[in-house]
């Protein structure tokens, strides 16, 4: 397939948008993922189904991808957008393309570090505008310099690699002996086991592993559609939570509930539009200028701008408020949206004359709550919700169904935006007590336990449909030739090799082997095994 300049430019732009801030805070959960990246690239290259299927396969490798505090293993834009484009343009089969994606993802991980470092400079620029009380400029600096930098950082390499890279890849593959190319395809089939293994390393508890096995067996022997397996997983989750007693015995600590609720009468009223404006800005731009020095500090201040302009009149007050919120801040932005809501409530009280709400009081509430909420938030949004919906989307996409990416984006967006809105408004309404109310309601633990059950079941099914490993070994005894795969292994348990590989990788990760080491082992086993004639397709 040839790629035109226009197509390469469009892919370069799409690569930027995939990592940009323009998708209501759910960009990181949706367009950033290879499932969506592959679909978009397929659309640009005129073969949406192929792109989607390749993107889905790539996404399986990154199923256990959890970024915390700006530390990112591999880059999903390079893996998803550039990987799909390169695979399609060079005309590679899915498995061979997968083996190229992992090095590509590693190549891109330097971009994140560069961006997090460079964005630190822009924050100081925002500081100087804050001193002058210029809220508009602070907001603009949160958005534009970081985003323009990101555009350059992603679009340029994406264009170069997509436009010129396919020839390089093709000539590389023709230069390499065919046996090794075959080996690369074998590696590609094995790699999704690394993604699943990483997710298991995060999710799995021995007592819940039967659900993983159940999902695997249902997929292998009943071959039920993905959506059906997901619903079975949901049913299993609800039953498990009911019958395991997770609901009734959720352990509440003995500490007394705090009774301090912010009084609503004293408030200098913010309008509904101010609140929505603040929430919307936080939702959309919390990571727009994400940087190592203050992480979401500038995003937090940007979110406060509608509140600050409503509550304060003099330049000094506005400047002080901006500076107050430009400090270091970092949380999981959706569950942690509650902190932004709490800060708005505190600002409102302060502006209404409560002198006990000092800078220190606001700052200590923010910095005290941001950590714990990030812990819960990351576990919930990145660790459970996203892999469950992704597995569903990947499963549908692999069957060539466009509902895969579409349903994924819809489910994920509604859930994440819903969480953000709910927690933000709770924070505004109740102040910091909202956090205790939210945590003590006793719903969180059963919810997470149930989600783990559902995740294990759908991931078990995904193991069956995605991980590929097969042996070509055969033994000739007299006149009879016994092929290990069809005559022995398949008769014991279909999918025994993929299942064993996945569990083995999980075990290696549990033994504290780094994901990179595991990937190197997979490459070595796949390439050498194929070269020796042990691995291969009958």
């Amino acid at each position: 397939m040839d790629v035109s300049i226009v197509q390469a430019l469009l892919i370069a732009l799409a690569a930027y948008f995939g990592s940009s801030t323009w998708f209501l805070g759910v960009g990181y959960f949706t367009v950033y993922r290879p499932l969506i990246g592959g679909t978009v690239v397929g659309l640009i290259l005129g073969d949406v189904v192929t792109g989607m299927q390749l993107g889905a396969a790539i996404n399986a490798i990154y199923l256990g991808f959890i970024s915390t505090g700006g530390s990112l293993p591999g880059d999903l834009i390079f893996a998803g957008y550039i990987g799909t484009a390169l695979g399609m343009v060079a005309g590679l089969d899915a498995e061979t393309a997968l083996s190229l994606v992992v090095p590509l993802g590693l190549l891109g991980s330097g971009i994140w570090f560069f961006r997090m470092s460079a964005d630190s400079l822009f924050v100081h620029w925002a500081d100087s505008f804050a001193r002058r009380g210029n809220t508009r400029a602070v907001a603009a600096i949160n958005i534009w310099p970081g985003q323009i930098l990101l555009l350059l950082l992603y679009a340029i390499p994406a264009f170069v690699i997509v436009y010129y890279g396919s020839d390089v890849v093709q000539s590389l593959l023709t230069a390499v002996p065919p046996k090794w190319v075959e080996g690369l395809a074998m590696v590609g089939g094995m790699l999704p086991a690394v993604g699943i293994g990483m997710l298991l390393n995060y999710l799995a508890k021995w007592r819940l592993m039967p659900f993983f096995l159940l999902g695997f067996l249902i997929a292998v022997y009943l071959q039920l559609p993905t959506l059906v397996i997901a619903l079975l997983g949901l049913a299993a989750a609800v039953l498990h939570v009911q019958y395991s007693g997770t609901l009734s015995t959720s352990p509440l600590p003995e500490e007394p509930l705090l009774t301090e609720v912010l009084s609503t009468q004293q408030r200098k009223p913010l309008r509904r539009t101010d609140l929505l404006g603040a929430w919307f800005r936080w939702l959309t731009f919390s990571h727009s200028c994400y940087n190592y020095e203050r992480l979401q500090g500038l995003g937090f201040a940007h979110g406060m701008t509608p509140i600050i302009t409503r509550l304060y009149d003099t330049k000094e007050e506005i400047s002080a408020a901006l500076k107050r919120h430009l400090v270091f801040f970092n949380t999981e932005p959706n569950v942690g949206a509650v902190v932004h809501g709490v800060a708005v409530a505190m600002e409102e009280e302060r502006a209404s004359g409560r002198t006990d709400i000092t800078d220190e009081a606001i700052n200590s509430v923010k910095s005290g709550l941001m950590g714990p909420l990030a812990g819960i938030g990351d576990s919930l949004t990145q660790g459970l919700i996203t892999p469950i919906f992704l597995t569903l989307g990947i499963g549908l996409a692999q069957q060539g169904n466009l509902a895969g990416p579409i349903l994924y984006v819809l489910l994920e967006s509604v859930t994440i935006i819903g969480i953000s809105y709910f927690t933000w408004m709770q924070g505004y309404r109740w102040g910091k007590v909202a956090v205790e109310r939210f945590l003590k309601a006793g719903l969180l633990r059963p919810l997470m336990e149930g989600a783990t059950v559902m995740a294990l079941m759908v991931v078990g099914a995904l193991t069956a449909t995605t991980v590929q490993l097969s042996t070509k070994a055969a033994v000739t005894i007299g006149p009879q030739t016994v092929t290990l795969q069809t005559d022995v292994l398949d008769k014991i348990l279909k999918g025994l090799l993929p299942l064993s590989l996945t569990l083995l990788i999980w075990w290696l990760l549990k033994k504290k082997k780094s994901p990179l080491t595991v990937i190197v082992v997979v490459f070595a086993v796949g390439l050498i095994g194929t070269w020796l004639g042990l691995l291969g397709w009958g």
Partner: protein, 170 residues
């Protein structure tokens, strides 16, 4: 004595990196937060307890009691992660006689008078002095946010930055 799997300086205490990555990596079932201010803050203690995974116990102790309590053989078979908000707290524990061979620096917020040392670790002069004192006692001090990241030794981070800071200040 309790098995201390990790002593970490991180002023965000229990957050994503700790819950999602370190706890699972080290398989710790107890977190000890050593901090005087938190010891007197019932609300934050309650939030921190609720924020940790259910199977992980969270204890908050003041600095002066930490060493004594960590040395008690009460928690046999448990694996503990000690979280501190500052290098000064780590130094105080050493002064009290608590022994640990390695100190992980995972996060210190930037603020007035800080220099950025490594990723999201920024430090004041007092922080740096405490870190140096800790290293001079033979403790390996290293910077590492999450387990899958390569640890960076203090020697690789501090001397150069320190020089730059001196030039800028004086």
């Amino acid at each position: 004595m309790t098995q201390v799997a990790l002593v970490r300086i991180d002023d965000r205490l229990i957050h994503g990196q700790v819950v999602v990555k370190w706890l699972r990596h080290l398989e710790c079932d107890e977190i000890w937060i050593v901090d005087d201010q938190l010891y007197g803050d019932d609300f934050m203690q309650s939030v921190l307890r609720l924020a940790a995974p259910p199977e992980v116990r969270v204890q908050v102790t003041p600095v002066c009691e930490a060493t004594r309590r960590l040395e008690q053989p009460l928690n046999k078979g448990h694996s503990v992660m000690v979280l501190l908000k500052s290098p000064q707290a780590a130094l105080a524990l050493l002064d009290d006689g608590l022994q640990f061979e390695e100190l992980n620096v995972g996060g210190l917020a930037a603020g007035a008078g800080t220099t950025r040392l490594y990723k999201s670790v920024s430090a004041t002069d007092e922080h740096i002095a405490a870190l140096r004192a800790i290293r001079n006692r033979g403790v390996r001090v290293y910077f590492q946010m999450v387990p899958e990241e390569r640890p960076v030794e203090m020697a690789a981070v501090l001397p150069l930055k320190r020089l730059a800071h001196n030039v800028a200040v004086h």
